[in-house]
Amino acid sequence: MERFISASPLKLLERSSRKGLGPGNLGVLIARAGVGKTACLIHIAFDRIFHGEKLVHVSLDETPEKVTSYYNVILYDLVKALDMEDEYEVRGRIDRNRLILAYLNQSFSLERLENNLGNLEKNMGFKPDTLIVDGMDCKEASRDLFGQFKQFAESLETEIWFSALSHRHITETNERGIPYPCHQVDDLFSIILQLQPETTGMHLRLLKDHDHPSISDVSLKLDPGTFLVMEKG
């Protein structure tokens, strides 16, 4: 697990002002379709779990079976790439500390999520330190909704990571350099990352670092197959 932590994409945040996202905050990963948003979010999930945290993966467009199989495939690749010997223990740790909540056919509402998380805490004693929310249509989601998520993160003392789908043909960017679709809600996010395939490899860039005003080009080059850190970008 130590091997993974030292090569995790979240290493990028070690160079952020607070060394991470932190409880009560929202983070978002922006990437185009097919680049690997879910895979990268799952890496974030592994990083948090291997740091001893509990995590809930909220999927708004995939069944739990599919999400589980994503985790399994990515873990399988990691075990091979890092030559991890404690695979059984790692799997057990993931199963014990991760829970998948799926909302199919527009079943999602924040109220329902709150209710489900309440059930988990009350009946299972499972209180997540991190929430991963995958599949939310950030273009359609209202500012209000993210505002409510922010309050929710604060009251639950949890950090929440989202994925956001960008498009090649929409080049809109705000004055702070935050691209579509987060350019109008960037104030609600503490960390904004962008995953971009480039000719030299897959690059993960830090676009927003809490309230830190100036960000020099903080980025990591990731292995496009495993999403593990190859070198500083």
């Binding site: 069944t63 739990p64 999400v67 589980t68 199963d95 014990r96 829970l99 998948i100 909540l101 799926a102 909302y103 199919l104 056919n105 079943s107 999602f108 329902r112 489900n116 309440g118 059930n119 988990l120 009350k122 009946n123 299972m124 004693g125 499972f126």
Partner: protein, 693 residues
């Protein structure tokens, strides 16, 4: 069979209470195999035709996959009615093994439920093309479009509506066929006469839109259809051919609608079976050639080729054993000599029959693709038959190990004899059901895949074999394993006059990575003579049946022997086997043994309002919740729960969810028992030991 292209071997499978048996009964009625309709829980005391076992009739469930055949518009259809309980999954698996296609029955209200997902997964494993029938469209709350969405999302299939309903719930009166663009009504007391009319005005727009969807989906499989659409010269046959191609490639699932109970929509479904599901010639089957190291050999659907057939189900009848057979290659006829591959036993085919549930029709010969039954042949379920020219076996089916067992004690001598007969029969019929006599207690122990599984066999013992038995409390199949490496160095020395016994073995035991037993010989310089090494292995193996901790079988151990000593006169195979037993005992307790228990994958569905209660109930049972999916007003919870905690859960779940929740479970893996539970087990073991003395 004159034209094998017109043969269909299909299964009808789905979640319990989706109405499979009712649907099958209607199919048999419309194909004129039966002349009256009886309901599953009928008041007429006859019961549906496919539920031939008395117990099934009483409980209103289908346990055995009875086979039957019928004819529809020049096609012969063999139907295997499959059970819907996960406890009987081996029945479903066996049925799927011999099928060429399937009808997946879904309830228009309940939708895609947990068992449908399990069955669908099994169908994928056997690459069975299917069509779907959304049944019970007459029920309150019926929503076929929701079911379509679920087929897409939960089963990951590509469903396409072939019909739309005319009315829904209580107003259901017929269907609109999206290929012919006609309305079909089912008139007459039993819906026997189909009346084709123009589409009602209020449905025309929807029918056009749905037909567009159908054409879009189907055209992906046929360039001819795409061209015809572009050139506006559509023909029905082109659409059927494209849908058939999509279905055979398992990239399209045509969906039919209706209500079998209300006699609505069954005949068009039969048309769908014959139009879209494959004939035996369109399915690839392989056998394993035992003479060539189990090399896979494709079989040809040629009646002239050497015979290869598989016995996929046995049934006891008052006149002897009936063995259901699927002929894959060649043909089998009355009076033929055939060989059972398993034991190379030669048998003569006496009676060859075609089954119609519990009635039979004698035939002289059956060719490749056909499903028939042999009468009075002594074989096991899963046996391969050949004519002796080939030494083939059909690929072995995956058979899970039993996870639950209980004692059965006959009430008197007569029951004892009958019980033996019953157990002999059941173990031949069902590889997941086992029976053995415990050597210490002398009790008969039966094992299987779940509480219901064993319950049904106990009931069958009483009803079919008149064996009155008393059953014990179900016991979980625990295992023992070690968690640390421990060394051994043991000398077995015995001098009691005459030839002595001498053998020394040294090495270590440690957990094996893959959970199985492994023996590694690292002896150098002949300190243990080569001829005694197998005896050392045998000695260690003999200790695995009963662990020293609580007497459960030991799994996941690697033994490495690296040193030893022999005596030129006193060493023998027996002495080294005994030395291994001593070495095992010496090291076992040092290797930190633990008890393992079976962990089940449990899937629960319930209205979302009960999610919290259900989670609490799983938590109380040491369950680990893996996921929860919200869909509309329902929650589906997946968890891993120790089997020991699941006894009686059906009743608990019913009361927690006002009867609206249901669950399925299947074996997942073995895991270490928590310390506190292990202590309880040890205490029980000690008390049992004392009581026994």
């Amino acid at each position: 069979m004159k034209n094998i292209q017109e043969l269909r071997n299909i299964g009808i499978s789905a979640h319990i209470d989706s109405g499979k048996t009712t649907l099958t009964e209607r199919i048999l009625y419309y194909t004129q195999r039966i002349h009256a309709i009886h309901e599953v829980r009928g008041k007429d005391g006859v019961g549906a035709k496919m539920d031939s076992m008395e117990l099934e009739k009483e409980r209103g469930i289908t346990i055995s996959s009875a086979a039957t055949y019928c004819r529809w518009k020049g096609h012969q259809i063999n139907i295997i009615d499959t059970p819907g309980h996960v406890d009987f999954t081996i029945e479903v698996e066996r049925a799927l093994r011999v099928l060429d296609g399937a009808v997946l029955v879904l309830c228009a209200v309940g939708g895609v439920q947990s068992q449908s997902i399990t069955v669908d997964r099994q169908m994928n494993r056997y690459r069975v093309p299917r069509i779907a029938f959304i049944n019970k469209c007459d029920r309150s709350g019926a929503d076929p479009l929701r079911v379509i969405r679920q087929i897409r999302e939960k089963l990951n299939e590509n469903p396409v509506l072939m019909q739309i309903p005319i009315g829904l719930e209580g107003n259901l009166s017929g269907v609109v066929d999206l290929v012919s663009m006609k309305a079909i009504f089912f008139e007459g007391e039993r819906g026997d006469s189909l009346v084709v009319k123009e589409i009602p005005d209020e449905l025309k727009e929807e029918a056009e839109a749905r037909r567009e969807e159908l054409l879009d989906a189907a055209s992906l499989f046929s360039d001819a259809l795409t061209e015809a659409i572009l050139e506006d010269r559509l023909e029905e046959d082109l659409i059927h051919e494209a849908v058939r191609k999509g279905t055979l490639s398992r990239e399209l699932t045509p969906v039919f609608l209706g209500s079998a109970y209300k006699n609505l929509g069954v005949q068009p479904l039969l048309d769908g079976v014959t139009r879209y599901l494959p004939s035996p010639t369109e399915v690839d089957n392989v056998a394993l050639d035992l003479d060539k190291g189990e090399k896979e050999i494709p079989l040809t659907v040629d009646p002239g080729a050497p015979l290869v057939a598989l016995a996929f189900k046995l049934e006891v009848t008052p006149y002897g054993q009936l063995s259901y057979l699927r002929v894959y290659q060649g043909s089998i006829g009355k009076g033929d000599d055939v060989i059972i591959t398993r034991n190379r036993k030669k048998i003569k085919v006496g009676r060859l029959v075609r089954m119609h549930a519990d009635e039979m029709e004698d035939i002289d010969r059956a060719g490749a693709g056909e499903i028939v039954a042999l009468f009075g042949v002594d074989c096991y379920s899963g046996d391969t038959f050949t004519d002796g020219r080939l030494n083939y076996t059909m690929s072995t089916m995956f058979v899970p190990d039993p996870v639950i067992s209980m004692t059965v004690v006959p009430s008197d001598n007569k029951a004892q004899g009958n019980m033996s007969k019953a157990l002999n029969r059941f173990t031949r019929e069902d590889p997941t059901f086992r029976a053995h006599v415990d050597q210490e207690s002398g009790e008969t122990i039966i094992s299987g895949m779940g509480e219901l599984h064993l319950d049904v066999y106990v009931e069958r013992m009483k009803r079919e074999f008149n064996a009155q038995v008393v059953t014990g409390i179900p016991q979980v199949a625990y295992r023992e394993s070690i968690t640390a490496k421990a060394a051994f160095d043991y000398t077995h020395k015995k001098q009691t006059g005459g030839a002595g016994q001498y053998g020394r073995v040294a090495g270590c035991m440690e957990p094996s990575r893959d959970g199985s037993y492994a023996f590694v010989n690292e002896v150098k310089g002949g300190s243990i003579p080569t001829e005694f090494i197998p005896s050392v292995d045998k000695g260690f193996r003999s200790c695995l049946d009963k662990g020293q901790m609580l007497g459960f079988p030991v799994v996941g151990m690697q033994i490495t022997v690296n040193d030893g000593k022999a005596h030129s006169v006193d060493s023998s195979e027996r002495a080294f086997a005994q030395a291994a037993v001593g070495a095992f005992r010496q090291a076992y307790s040092k290797a930190r043994p633990v008890i393992l228990e079976p962990i089940m994958k449990v899937s629960i569905e319930c209205p979302s309002e009960f999610q919290g209660n259900v989670m609490a109930s799983l938590n109380q049972r040491r369950g680990l919740i893996m996921s929860s999916a919200e869909d509309g007003v329902f929650s589906a919870i997946d968890a891993e729960v120790p089997l020991a905690e699941m006894f009686g859960y059906a009743t608990v779940l019913r009361s927690l969810t006002q009867g609206k929740g249901e669950f399925t479970m299947e074996f997942s893996r073995y895991a270490k028992v928590p310390e506190s539970i292990a202590e309880d087990l040890k205490r029980e073991f000690r008390e049992k030991g004392k009581g026994g003395k």
